[in-house]
């Protein structure tokens, strides 16, 4: 696992090895300041998880990095400025699994994953053999072959999450954004999905930028963490550096015990 030291605000976007370079990112929604001058770099192959209390601006920051919201500041993907990428090129560079993906009524798992190939299919054209092969590959990689012909809306939560992931992977992007990928899952399925992401990241050299609520789980999988509060970065570094009793008490207004664990600190809220 690569674990480069955290990079400061002065990071130059074109530097090799940086997959996502965010500098001075500011987002206003309906006039309200939601994300306030955020700096964030994610190295190639690294897993960075953004945490923070509800309303801290995690999802908004992630959507801005995905190019889905207007923002001020700069975002570079593998050295290319986000706002100069054509939307199809952008979709080939970065894939997103949003928090509650829409499940189209009656669509099969196969067709849903094929949607991931949209940026490769010309406007008046049809899917190529390569596109179909890409779908088959993701079906196999995510253990979804038996579900290919099933309707997505008949699948369980854990199965659906794998299908959402498969659609994102079918985009062939090297950067994967995951907004609360496990919020709808029980702990068994949470672990299954995160292990899968970690495995694919190692296998394909993917870069992962995620937001998560469960702090212990987040800390077990992330190389580095960023704590957002009120739209600003208030702490960044390894899970051990960020998940401290003092940080969490200040920004989540909760009393916690932090216990050292095998893969990262374990956070337990205690009644005061």
């Amino acid at each position: 696992m690569s674990s480069e030291p955290a990079q400061g605000p002065g990071a130059t976007p074109a530097r090799a090895g940086v997959a996502v370079a965010v500098a001075d990112l500011t987002v206003r929604l309906d006039g309200a300041l939601i994300v306030d001058s955020v700096d964030l770099d994610v190295a190639e192959g690294e897993w960075v998880t953004v945490i923070g209390p509800n309303g801290a601006g995690k999802s908004t920051a992630l959507r801005a990095v995905a190019g889905l919201l207007p923002f001020q500041g700069s975002v570079h993907l593998h050295g290319h400025p986000l706002d100069r990428l054509h939307r199809r090129e952008r979709a080939k560079a970065i894939a997103v699994v949003v928090q509650n993906p829409v499940v189209p009524v009656g669509m099969t798992v196969f067709d849903y994953i094929l949607l991931g190939r949209t940026p490769y299919i010309p406007p008046l054209g049809r899917e190529s053999a390569t596109d179909l092969a890409a779908v088959d590959e993701e079906l196999t990689a995510l253990d979804l072959v038996p579900f290919a012909g099933r309707r997505l809306d008949t699948l369980s939560g854990g199965e659906r999450q794998r299908v959402f992931l498969a659609r994102a992977l079918a985009q062939g992007a090297r950067i994967l954004l995951l907004d609360e990928p496990t919020s709808a899952l029980d702990i068994g399925h949470q672990q299954e999905v995160l292990e899968l992401v970690d495995h694919l990241r190692a296998e394909r050299g993917l870069t992962v930028l995620a937001t998560m609520h469960d702090l212990s789980t987040a800390g077990e999988y992330a190389d580095r963490m960023v704590l957002l509060s009120g739209g600003r970065v208030v702490a960044a570094g390894t899970p051990t550096e960020v998940l401290t009793e003092a940080n969490l008490a200040e920004h989540y207004r909760v009393k916690v015990r932090v216990i050292p664990g095998g893969h990262g600190p374990l956070v337990v809220a205690v009644r005061s």
Binding site: R63, A66, G67, L68, R87, R88, E89, R90, A91, K92, A95, V96, V98, P101, V102, P104, V105, G106, M107, T108, F110, D111, L114, L115, G116, T118, P119, I121, P123, L124, R126, E127, L132, D136, A148, G149, Q171
Partner: protein, 347 residues
Amino acid sequence: MRPAGLRPAWFVAGVLAVLVAVTAGLAFGSISMPPGDVAIELLNLIPGVHLRSGLSEREVAILTELRLPRVVLGLLVGAMLALAGAAYQGAFRNPLADPHLLGVAAGAGLGVTAVIVLRPAGEASAGLPIGVPMAAFVGALVAVALTWVLGAAGGRDRSPAALILAGVAVAAFLSALQTFLLQRHVESLREVYSWLLGRLGTAGWHDVLVVLPYTVLTAAIMLTQRRELDVLTVGDEEAASLGLHPQRSRYILIVAASLGTAAAVSVSGLIGFVGIIVPHTLRLLAGPSHRSLLPLSLLFGAAFLALTDLLARVVGGAAEIPIGVVTAFLGAPFFIVVLRTTRSAVT
């Protein structure tokens, strides 16, 4: 595993449905002719084919000069209303969207009424004025824009219910304007009223030629967007993350569907519910993918309206029932069924 798309069997079924509808529409009516002979006369329309059908010269004239233009117009209007319904439902992500419920037809109706009542005296009844489809189109676009803007009153996400309520309000407003215009020009009342009820009856080749270019063009445009419609089913944000320009696809579809509807409505009058009945039935039978839904709506919409027109001609006996009445009679109960089965999506 193959991706969803137009299955050959369904395509063949659609073509067969159109052929059956055409043959039946030509054979039956005030005088009936043997369908076999009608089929032979149809083949005779192909240049270079000369077969003996056993029909008299008068019957052949009825066939080619009276019934054929009417059947062809029914095909065009039905294809357009069903295709536009499917396109609106996909573009608005709203199972209840339909040219009539969005106020589009009322807008087109106002446009047509304005042209009929305001044209100079003495020009009356020489067939459809060339400007009618354009006037209908302007009215249709104004209506769909109003509905879209008003539909946002209940929140920016425009729930299906909010959009349909806005459509009803817009339709009521535009119909009121239309009534006002009519009251001021009582001499046109009869002409406009018979148009309002929907008719394919007075259709001659002239009407067919007026709408043909619009229907061909707009159908082609809508059909190019069928894959984009499938991507739009996951919502604008995810569609954008997949490299699509959701708003642009939506505008293309809405403008094309409105122009097509307006052209159809301008010759046929208000024929409701075709855009609900046909696409929803096809979704249940052939699957929800727009890649098959759009071409099949075109084929089965054409067949449906040609057959409905036959029903309107035959059931009423001497006094023909307006076709808009027949489609409403079939469509209103169907609409309730759609409403019940999609309740979760509406509220």
